[in-house]
Amino acid sequence: MADYKPEIYFIGQIVGGSDFPTDLDGLFVEASLKYGENWKLIEKTSTIQTHTSYPDDEGFFVFAHPFDFYFICESVQGWPKLNIKVWRLDQYGKLDNIAYGIINLPNETGSFDLECPTWRPMSGWREESYNYYLGGPPKLVNSDPIVRDLNKRRFLTSMSSGSIHIHCEVLMKGYRDSFISGDQ
């Protein structure tokens, strides 16, 4: 009898990243899903970690990490979002979290190329020169300000970073019967 509940499939991949201020270091992306309490994810894992990629001549990093999310949706509120953390692996083997981003997954059927711009926190000249000489930008102690508690954002200062490119195909079922838009 659950046939009337709208179901939605997000099928795609984290294609890559571009315009990051890392010269020849490797990057990888950790992405986790954030969704409302009325959404049910039919899958074991909701966290993705890509391989470490080194850039090409144009500064593009290729991840090509596929994902396939299947949700049963009981409410439009809490639409799934991807919470992205970009990590850097430098030539000395040190791992560092260098950027954050959040992007909403598409709400209509079709094929979409999404671009998620990312940012990193900034505090003062001391931390900036530490980052410049030693490589280690300031990070968030608590990742709440990204999406969980947006009221904390007003106390942050950030610096812009590169973009993560994501390709996503969306299939919807049962939305038309509930008169919810999106499935044309």
């Binding site: 639409w79 909403n104 709400n107 209509e108 990312t118 954002r153 610096m159 812009s160 590169g162 838009s181």
Partner: protein, 246 residues
């Protein structure tokens, strides 16, 4: 199991649709109560599991518009270190079903490389409106502030757009403007700076058309917003918002 011989003992199940030639023993007839059999038949037919749920038959009153997405980045040539605020402005007949009308983002600085021209806020929003009329369709007002050296906030740029009426993904670029404070000296020199530095109490008044006749603004800067609109019950109210004519 059927009775083949009248005096044979057997395990019997009570079936309501026994064939007509089924014969009952005399002493077993008392076990059947006609009223009980009728009651059981009703329970079997009208049990909840069998009733058909049809979502199209559910009653409705409001239509719902959910607006979600992120305010991604701003491109300003002369300004840096701006804090973004957004505010949804709606008509009186609109209510909020879920979400917040306004929020403030972080102070963003331009980065290196391609990021040199963009200050990235990446501020997500999600709000659901509930209404019965499209009059007073919501607008998104965006304004950017900086912190002055004395710690106060001054508004540097404003912009506003309407929430799109068609559902789906929309990438919108809001063109921003700044109010100008002029005095005759700066006007003589011809010096208008981006970011007039005027303090305004209610930035959401930007969404309305009153009082604009006496103001002067300087245009500059763009803010890119990714807006996703989901609607519910609009066709039932008689509005067709997609190009797909069914």
């Amino acid at each position: 199991m059927r009775a083949t011989k009248a005096n044979e003992t057997y395990q019997r199940n009570t079936y309501l649709s026994d064939p007509p030639d089924y014969k009952l023993d005399d002493d077993e007839e008392e076990e059947f109560d006609l009223d009980e059999r009728l009651k059981e038949e009703n329970q079997y037919k009208y049990h909840e599991n069998l009733s058909h749920y049809d979502p199209k038959g559910q009653p409705y009153s409001y239509f719902y518009i959910t607006v979600m997405g992120q305010i991604d980045f701003g491109e300003f040539q002369y300004l840096d270190g701006l804090q973004l605020h957004y505010h949804f402005v709606k008509g009186e007949d609109w209510n909020i079903a879920n979400g917040t009308l306004f929020q403030t983002g972080q102070f963003a600085f331009k980065g290196q490389g391609r990021g040199l021209s963009r200050m990235i806020w990446n501020l997500p929003f999600e709000i659901t409106f509930r209404t019965m009329t499209p009059f007073g369709w919501p607008q998104l007002v965006v304004y950017c502030t900086t912190k002055e050296s004395d710690g106060s906030d001054t508004v540097k740029a404003f912009g506003s757009i309407h929430v799109p009426i068609s559902p789906g993904i929309h990438k919108k670029i809001i063109r921003m403007f700044s109010p100008i404070t002029t005095n005759s000296f700066t006007e003589f020199i011809g010096w208008f700076r981006e970011g007039g530095g005027v303090q305004i109490d209610q930035p959401e008044l930007i969404a309305f058309a009153e009082g604009r006749e006496v103001s002067r603004v300087k245009a500059g800067g763009k803010v890119t917003v990714n807006m996703q609109v989901t609607q519910r019950n609009m066709e039932r109210h008689g509005y067709i918002t997609t190009n797909n004519k069914k």
